[in-house]
Symmetry: C2
Subunit: 139 residues, 2 copies
Amino acid sequence: MSNTDFRLTPQRKIILEELMETDTHLTAAEVYEIVRARLPRISLGTVYRNLETLSQLGMIQKLEVGGTQKRFDGKTNIHYHVRCLSCGRVDDAPIEPQTALEEAIEGLTDYEIIGHRLEFVGLCLKCGKKPGGEARTRA
Amino acid sequence: MSNTDFRLTPQRKIILEELMETDTHLTAAEVYEIVRARLPRISLGTVYRNLETLSQLGMIQKLEVGGTQKRFDGKTNIHYHVRCLSCGRVDDAPIEPQTALEEAIEGLTDYEIIGHRLEFVGLCLKCGKKPGGEARTRA
DNA sequence: TCAATATTAGTAATGATAATTATTATTGAA
DNA sequence: TTCAATAATAATTATCATTACTAATATTGA
Ligand SMILES: [Mn+2]
Ligand SMILES: [Mn+2]
Ligand SMILES: [Zn+2]
Ligand SMILES: [Zn+2]
């Protein structure tokens, strides 16, 4: 019984491919829409299940950014994000991980610190400039 | 027509009081349970509606921490948090807001930066020490 | 070849939160 | 005071994201 019984099914392969070749941090629903163009019979449940599996295996990253939906990242290294308060768009933040932050709280709390999450919020190019922009979504 | 038609109803007063005198960053469901001890007829919808209203007015803060539930904070000043990966507990992080972070990305992105959120994650005293601790909850 | 195992599509269930609605409470002008 | 306008409530229903279940299909390796 090989312990490596992870099968790279067509569904998983395509989900991975689509996540790799985009930098927009898709939601599960967005992944579903995109993958459906290539695999019309895939089900939303399969997308959720595999996004979970793949992130569990460290092949992708599940992001807990603000807002109501989780987002998924083809990049697995530690990095920060910027989120648009208006349209929800999430981009990578061009700033290196600040290890100093964890050193700063070390010992000041009862917690055993494992990591940290830093998210910048603001308005993306599209939403920020012109008055109005896109409809403001909640959260 | 006075524009200040916010009424400090008993429901709102008690929700506020309970949020003020705790430092544990309650979820809506937890607020509901606690307030119910004093106002047994209050409805969960009222709790949600007023938590939203109060945070809209800047009287409390709605926190978008990791996990599945929003949490509410009686403190309205900007500060960071530590969250336990095991039990979900959220405490204030004893570290000052780092304005330098926003200065660091300023100009490096297309975004108009408005703010940032920093959350440390780890294991609280109760969950971290003894092997086992509480049952690990998801997210 | 074939039984064990993994994965799927489809659907139902769950959990958090928001919207609706009919009723009650408060306000301020007549 | 009285009463119409407004605000807020309790109760209920709806929505949205996500997870669980289930029966069918696919893959694996002895
Ligand atoms: Mn990213
Ligand atoms: Mn706090
Ligand atoms: Zn935007
Ligand atoms: Zn804990």
